[in-house]
C-alpha cells in the first residue's frame, strides 16, 4: 500500500498522481504500439473497433456520466461524422480537413440538439434524443442527392501526407489509437478545469450549480457539443474502417451499444469507456463462436448422458435453431444491462477497483467499503 504525501497543489492537478501510474500506462502504451506486429489481422481489426467504440464511449461519458444528460442518439452523431467524411471525400477534400470538418459539423448539430434538450430531464430527454436519431436515420435514407439513400456510400482509404492508409494497415490503427488517446487526455484536462467541474455540478444539483454562478443552459449545450464533436471524429474513423456506410448501420441498436459501453464499463471514470468498449467489441465474436459451436457441444453432452444418436441430432438442431433466432443479440444485450445494473452498478471498472483494494488491504478488505450510504435528507423542492 502506498501513501501519498501531498506537498504541493500540483499533486492534485497532475494526471499521474505518482510514478507507478507512469510505469503501468507506459507499459500499456508499449504493448499497444507493438500489437499490430504480433496480433492476427482479425484481432487487429477488433482492436481498431475497440478504439473507435472507446472514443464514442468517452464522448458519451462526458454527456451522460459527467453532465448527467442521457442520450440514445449517439449513433446519429456517428452517422453525421461518417457521412460528412464520405461526402467531402467525393470532392477530393484532404483527410485532415474533412476529419476536422466532420467533428465541427457534428459538434454544431450536437449544440442544436442541446437547445431543445435544455427543458427536458431524464426519460423525456432520452425520448427526445431517440427521436433525433430516427430523424437523422430517415434523412440519410431520403436525401439521396447527398447520401445516396439506402444504397449507401463508399469511402476510399484516407491519405495522410500523400500516403494512402489502408483500413487494415498498422498506420490506420495508430491513427485510431491516437484519436482515442487525444480524446482521453483532452477529457481529463477538461475534468480538472472549471468546465468539467461545472458539468459534474449540473449532474448532482442544478439548483446549487445555478446559485454558484454556473450558466446551466450554456454548459449543457457545451456538453452536448463536445460529446457530439468527439463522436463525429469517431464517425470518420468508423466510416473508413467499414469503407462502406448506409443508413441501416446507424440504428437505435448502435446507440444502445454505446450506452452499454459506459454502463458496463462504469459511468464514473474514463476507464469505464475503454473497458466497456473491449467488452462490447469482443462479445460479438464470442456470440458467433457460441452460435457455431454450442449446438455441437450440447449435442455431445446429450449423447454422453445417453440421449442416443437420434436424440443428440435432435437436440443439436433445436439449439442451432434457437441460436439463429432473430433478435437474440438484442435480448442478450438486454440481459447484460439488467444484470449489471442489479449486481454491479459501478461496472467493470468498479469491479477492478474492488479487486485491487482486496489485494492492497489483503486480510482486511470489507465488502461494505463500496456499499452506498442511504441519504434520507434530500430536498426535492427546488428542482
Amino acid at each position: 500500500m502506498r501513501f501519498l504525501f501531498k506537498t504541493d497543489y500540483e499533486d492534485d492537478i497532475r494526471l499521474f498522481p505518482h510514478s507507478g501510474y507512469l510505469v503501468s500506462y507506459g507499459l500499456l502504451l508499449a504493448v499497444l504500439l507493438v500489437a499490430p506486429y504480433v496480433l492476427s489481422s482479425y484481432l487487429m481489426s477488433q482492436l481498431v473497433f475497440v478504439c473507435i467504440y472507446a472514443t464514442v464511449g468517452v464522448a458519451l461519458l462526458i454527456l451522460t456520466g459527467f453532465t448527467g444528460q442521457a442520450s440514445l442518439g449517439h449513433a446519429a452523431f456517428l452517422a453525421i461524422g461518417a457521412y460528412t467524411a464520405a461526402y467531402l471525400q467525393k470532392y477530393n477534400v484532404p483527410f485532415p480537413i474533412y476529419f476536422l470538418a466532420a467533428g465541427a459539423l457534428t459538434g454544431l448539430i450536437g449544440a442544436l440538439v442541446g437547445f431543445p434538450a435544455l427543458r427536458l430531464q431524464g426519460i423525456y430527454l432520452v425520448i427526445a434524443t431517440i427521436s433525433f436519431a430516427f430523424i437523422v436515420e430517415e434523412i440519410l435514407a431520403r436525401w439521396e442527392s447527398v447520401t445516396n439513400g439506402n444504397e449507401g456510400m463508399r469511402i476510399k482509404a484516407p491519405s495522410l501526407l500523400g500516403v494512402t492508409v489502408p483500413r487494415d494497415s498498422p498506420t490506420f490503427y495508430f491513427l485510431c489509437l491516437a484519436v482515442l488517446v487525444l480524446t482521453i487526455v483532452g477529457t481529463l484536462n477538461l475534468l480538472r478545469s472549471p468546465t468539467g467541474r461545472a458539468f459534474v455540478a449540473i449532474r448532482d444539483s442544478e439548483t446549487a450549480a445555478r446559485s454558484m454562478g454556473i450558466n446551466v443552459a450554456l454548459y449543457k449545450v457545451k456538453s452536448f457539443a463536445i460529446s457530439a464533436a468527439i463522436t463525429g471524429f469517431a464517425g470518420v474513423l468508423f466510416a473508413h474502417k467499414l469503407s462502406f456506410i448506409s443508413p441501416e448501420m446507424f440504428t437505435l441498436q448502435l446507440s444502445i451499444e454505446f450506452i452499454i459501453v459506459i454502463l458496463i464499463g462504469g459511468t464514473f471514470s474514463l476507464h469505464g469507456a475503454v473497458l466497456g468498449a473491449i467488452f462490447i467489441v469482443m462479445i460479438d465474436p464470442f456470440l458467433t463462436y457460441l452460435k457455431d459451436d454450442m449446438p455441437g457441444i450440447i449435442a455431445g453432452i446429450a449423447a454422453t448422458f445417453g440421449a442416443g444418436t437420434q436424440g443428440a441430432a435432435n437436440v443439436q438442431s433445436k439449439v442451432a435453431a434457437f441460436a439463429s433466432l432473430n433478435g437474440l443479440k438484442g435480448a442478450i444485450y438486454g440481459i447484460i444491462i439488467v444484470l449489471f445494473v442489479l449486481f454491479e452498478p459501478l461496472g467493470l471498472y468498479g469491479r477492478w477497483l474492488k479487486i485491487k483494494l482486496f489485494f492492497q488491504l489483503f486480510p482486511l478488505y470489507k465488502r461494505a467499503t463500496f456499499k452506498r450510504q442511504k441519504i434520507y435528507v434530500k430536498s426535492e423542492r427546488n428542482r
Binding site: 497543489y9 480538472r192 478545469s193 446559485s211 427546488n382
Partner: protein, 252 residues
Amino acid sequence: MSYFRAENLSLHFGGLKAVDAVSFAVEKGEILSIIGPNGAGKSSIFNLISRIYRPTSGRIFFEDQDITEQPPYDIARLGIARTFQNIELFENATVLSNLLVGRHRHSTTQLWQELLFLPSVRANEKLHRRRVEQVIEFLDLEPYRDKLISGLPYGVRKVIELARALCSEPKLILLDEPSSGLNVEETDDMSFWIRDMKSELGVTVLMVEHDMSLVNRVSDRVIALNYGRVLAMGSPTDVQQHPDVVAAYLGA
C-alpha cells in the same frame, strides 16, 4: 443608499401570498436575521433573491443595481452566495471539487484552453486551490478535504455548504437556516464562524434562522415575518418583545 434593498417584494402562488409586499434593507457589513414561524415566507424571500422564483411584483437592488431581472447565474457573479436549508451539495464529488465549484465565478479560462490545459489554466487552478485552502483552514475542514460528500455526516455537510459559498468570495451571503440539524456544539461553532465572516472577511450576512439563541448571539438586526408580511424590525431583543411577534409565535 442601502447596500442591499428589497422593495415591495411579493410572491403569489395563485391566491396564496407567500411573500406580500415585503421591504427591507441590509447595510454593508451587518448581520441581518429573518425570523418567523413555519410558512412565513422566509425561504421564499431567499429563493426570490437567488432567482429560483420570479417575484410577482417588487424590485431587488444590490449595490445600487437593479437585479430583479438578472438571470440566476448572474446573481452569484455579482457577489451574492447562498446556502440551502436542506443542503444542495454535489454528492458524488469530493469536498475539494465542491469547494472549487464555488470558485466558478472567478474562472476566466476558455474551453479550448482547458482542453489543452495550457499554463494559464494551470496557474488559475493553483490560484483557486490557494483560495479554497484558505477557506478550508478558516472552517477547520482539513480532515475532509479528499472525502466524497456522500459519505460525510450531516453536520459536516452543513459546514461544507458554508465553505462553498465562502469560496466564491461573496460580498453578501445568504444563509438559509445555518443551524438546522446541528447539535449544540456545532451550532456554537457556526455562530463563531458567522461572526468571524463578518469581522475577518468583511462579508455582509442575511440569514434565516429558527434558533433564537443563535439569532441573539450574532445578529445586528432582526426582521420578523408572518404570513408573508413584515411584523417587526429592529434589534434582536426589541423584535422578540414586540407584541405582534409574541402573538405570531404563541398564538395569543
